[in-house]
Each structure stands twice: as structure tokens, then as C-alpha cells.
Symmetry: C2
Subunit: 363 residues, 2 copies
Amino acid sequence: MNYGRTYNFSAGPAMMPEPVLEEIRDEMMNYRGSGMCVMEMSHRSKVFQQIVDEAEADLRALMNIPDNYKVLFMQGGATLQFAAIPWNLMKNGKAVYIETGAWSKKAIAEAKKYGEVIVAASSKDRNFSYIPDVSDLDIPEDADYVYICENETIHGLTYQQLPNTKGHILVSDQSSMFLSKPCNVADYGMIYAGVQKNVGPAGMSVIIIREDLIREDLDPKMPVYMRYDIQAANGSMYNTPNCWAIYCCGKVFHYLREIGGLEEMARRNEEKAKILYDFLDSSKMFRGTVEKKDRSLMNVPFVTESAELDAEVVKATKAAGYDNLKGHKSVGGLRASIYNAMPKEGVVALVEFLKKFEAEYNK
Amino acid sequence: MNYGRTYNFSAGPAMMPEPVLEEIRDEMMNYRGSGMCVMEMSHRSKVFQQIVDEAEADLRALMNIPDNYKVLFMQGGATLQFAAIPWNLMKNGKAVYIETGAWSKKAIAEAKKYGEVIVAASSKDRNFSYIPDVSDLDIPEDADYVYICENETIHGLTYQQLPNTKGHILVSDQSSMFLSKPCNVADYGMIYAGVQKNVGPAGMSVIIIREDLIREDLDPKMPVYMRYDIQAANGSMYNTPNCWAIYCCGKVFHYLREIGGLEEMARRNEEKAKILYDFLDSSKMFRGTVEKKDRSLMNVPFVTESAELDAEVVKATKAAGYDNLKGHKSVGGLRASIYNAMPKEGVVALVEFLKKFEAEYNK
């Protein structure tokens, strides 16, 4: 149906699948005969417990999550996890971080409050335009984990190969690539993602953590809300969770399974990204800012020759109905975020528009 | 319109105004010509900033919030605030708490992690069935604040008069009474409330705090997410907030203004509560568990002579379409939560049902 919806290239919160939004709309006044909206349901009720259980079951099926991993739904975004991760996982008070952009930098700054942080590799020297070599890192024996931001939303780069952790636990922030392609959960000790980029409404993080990493011998000063052991023991309902986000994300998990799962998402995302990168590589006006080998499937930053022209393009795209294309200030230029819910047609239309803009400009 | 909606007596999440839900439904696919659902909007976009600004403006108007108070929207529920409050507000490392039920108890337990907690009054001796005398508390000179849970959701009691803090700052958890009646904000240093009881969807707390209480000289170990100074300096958007909750709560704030503001809510809530309490006081089968002078307008716990009969009544109410009336395990019996959005008709219908049940039982 035509709702006059725009192609929204926001880096997050971002587009959601239209059929999911329609379902949510249709269940607003009375969810499946319960007599209430999901926003009105007691989180201790059977009807809501079923929503949580189904959401988790669909996510587990989608990602093939092994039984020895817990799934947690927590509030506070990746920002709260930046503190929760070192506080919960550091036993020896030491961890290795890879610095690849704005989000790993923030994670590093926060982790330093709770222990020693060793930055074993960084791409800071060229404004985070590439993923450093992580095949042979210098990792102390007693490091508690190796941390990566697997897709840097702002700088637009992603890992093609996971770091060689030399037997250490890998912790990955997958916020801006969560569910964009198949993922072997067993390669990680913990995966987490703010859902507002590639899944649903802001206000929730999904945490997938190997059970044996959940400890009880924690700093007594840690807020009870941030303790993974408490959250896990209470099925993410020690206190009232973000029920609405669980409901909406559950619908997206289910929808992704229905349309073919993560293999199909990878196929679609590669197809979409190729259309955009091929154009950037052939254009004389626009160029991508990231080394080709490390380009993100999800966030595509690009620039023209000048900030003035960048601004002109952003203005023109907005006027033409392509929203949120302005690049982040730390990279400049433009950025197209093309998450799971962005249809191929949106990318094709944007490329056509940029081609036309370039042609007009060169007339 | 008749959507087959039930009278939902949940203690929270709980009923929301039907006209608000209709508006949300109607804006789902395309919010006011923006081309997107609010869940899809960048939190840095103009269209969303307007939603935040309007929500705050409506709340300020509704509560007459003085200019020297900041309004923050944070995630993590009251549970995260239980830690954030002492950590942000304790300068001398000492605070006075009043213990009146489950929620003040939890706040006390958490605050002890961050400083000395003096429980200056308690009603623990009679299972929190009354508000202790708080007119002449023993408050150390150097106490940083006096803390109350102004309405205990589980035990169903509320303050008729605020404590005499003897010049100290008053901090109040208003979660289960927020916006239920007029409130003189200037009487408090800080008011906060999880919105999932009397306003909107779970996953957000509103914090109203006097500017001069917001400090920057804080424990470096505090997670950046929990710092009131950072949240205030960034308009609650240091990271992505719970955008959906801000949107929905903003609509409720606006709706409350339209139907007459907090004076009108107080009138309606007193009328509804009187219907239920009058019945309990006249019944031979049911009785309220709280001292009359301290009864909550919002949460009405009541019991029969036995746990078996309690269970029978709960089952019968559920079958008759009155939902979530089972009392909390720490009080037993039944509990009817009759927040702002519960229509008078719902309370009348419940009372009629209970009257009939009692009559049938005594036949």
C-alpha cells in the first residue's frame, strides 16, 4: 500500500519493514483478543510472557544461537553496555580493544573506568578509514577478552575476518550490522546490539552471552540493573523491561525468518551495497571514504570534492524525498545507511538521483 | 468505538487513554507527513526534536515545573535510578530514607552501595500498612537528601503530607502516582517516575531535578549513562533515548492538559477511589489492607478472610473480563490499580461484580 513513505537513510533509528509496522498498527487497540494494547500489558502476565518467549525463540532460530548462550534484553543502549561489559567480564582487570572508529573509541573510554585497556590495534592514523590487521595481535595472556565494534556506523567500515584472539573471548558490538548476515555465535563470548539500527525501536539492547561468562562475584558497587547474572536469572525482567521494543523486535525477528533468514538478508544487503559502491567507484563527483576491502554493507559514507558541494547534495536529496543523508560531522560529506529494511528500490532511486545530480552539475 | 477492550487493573504497565492509542495507531505508517513512523526517525532529526520539545513543554505546563528544574528522560527504570540518585546526589555520602514498602526497600538496598543510609522512619512493623509519622524526623545536619516513595504500588499507601525535611532536599519516587493530582514541584529537589504505570509504555523514567543539584564532581567510576550532568547537558540525548516512549508519553501529557490538567485528574481519581473504598468499607467479605488515612488513590489492595477465597475471586474477575487483579505475593489477596486512564465505569463495574460475588457467596 502507498502510505507516502520516504526512503529514509538514517543511521539509526532507521527504517523498519512495512508489513511489521502494519501488523503493529492493526494490533494497537486490542492485541489478539487480549483486550489491551501491548503497551498496557503487565510484564508479569501470561500474554506478555508469550511475546517475550516467542521473540527469544525467533532470534535463537534466526541466529542459530547455541543452548549455552543466554539472550538478554536490556535498556540504556550500547552506552550502558560500554560500562557493563568490563564491569561484568573483567576478572583480571585487563582487556584488549581494537580502535576502529567513534563507537570503539567510546567503548574504550568507558572501559578504562573499570580496568586496564590495551589498544592492540588502531586505524586512527587515517581517520578510521580501514580495519587494521588483526591476524596477529599482541594479547596478554591474562586479558579477559578482546573487544571489537564489528561495524562502525559513523566511519562505515566492517570486519571481513574476525580477529585472531589467540584463545581469548571475543566481545562484539554488532549494533549497526545485527542480523544483516549469518553469524557463527560460537565464535564469540558475547555479541550485543542496540536494536534501533537494524531491528526495531530505540531503547533496547540485545545481549547474547555464553553462560559461563556470567559471574556472580562482582564489584558490590555495580548497580543491580547492570548485572548480567541478575538479568539472566530473571529472564530480563528483574524490573519492567522495554516491553514495546521486545514486542516490535520480536515481530522483526519473525518477519526475517519468514522472508528467508540471514542468508537471504546477506544476499539482499550485498546486492544493495554493490549498487551504491559501484556507482561511487564510477563517479567523478563522489567517492567512498573507506578502503574497499573494509567497506560496510550497512553504512556507506561518501564525499564530494568540497564541504560546500556536500551540503548542496544533502539539500537536494532531502528536497527529493531521500532523508537523513547528511554525514556525521567527524567524517563529513554524506552517509547512506542501508539496513535490512531499506528496499533495493530505495538504493536504486538514490543512485539514479545522484547520477542525475552529477550529470546536471557537469553540464 | 468498541474495540472489545478490557478493564485492565494492572499495577503497571497499565491502561493508556484510548484516544491516545488511536492517534498513535493512525500515525503509525507515516507520522504527519514525515514519511516515516516515529520508531524510524533519527533522534537527531528536526521532526523528532520537535516531538521531544513538545513533550517536555506539555509536561512543564501540566506540572507547572519551575524554570530552574531540568526534565530528563532516561532508560533503565526506577531500578537504575535507585543507584543513580545516591551516586549523583550524595556529596557528604549520607542520606535519609523512609521505609514504607517494597519500592522504598529496594531503593534503600541499592543506595547502601554508595553511602550511608539512615532509615529515619519505617512501617515495616505492620507489613507496610501505614505511613509512619514524618513530621519530626531525626535528620543529620549533613544528610544530602530525604528520600520517599510517595506512593507504594505494592502495598497501596501514599503520603497525605510530605515529610518535614528540616531544610533538606526531598527526593520522591512518584512512579505509581505521577500526574495523578497537582504537585508543587518546588517542594522537591527531585521527582522521578517510571512512566509505565500512569503515563505510557515501559522503558523510560522522567526525572525532574533542580538545576543546582546537578553536579559534575562525580565518582569517575559512574557509568556515563547515569550522570545527570551529561544527560542534562545533552537534552537526554547523549545516546539514543527511548524515542517511542517520549512520543507516547508526550501524547498523554498533551491529552491530560486537554481534558483539564491535574486538578481534573485529582477529581476523577478521588471519585473512582471513593467508589472502591466505600464498597470495601461496607463489605463483609472484602477489606482494604491499608490504614484509611494512608490509602493510595491509585493502588487498592484488599483481601477476603482466606487465601483460597482470594484466589477464587481473582479467577472469577478474570473470567468476567477484569484483568490483573491478583495481589502481589508480599500482600496477598487482590489489588486494583486504578490509574488515570482507568475510566470510572471500570471501577463501577468491578464494584458491581464484587458486590454480586459477595451476595452469591452468602446465599
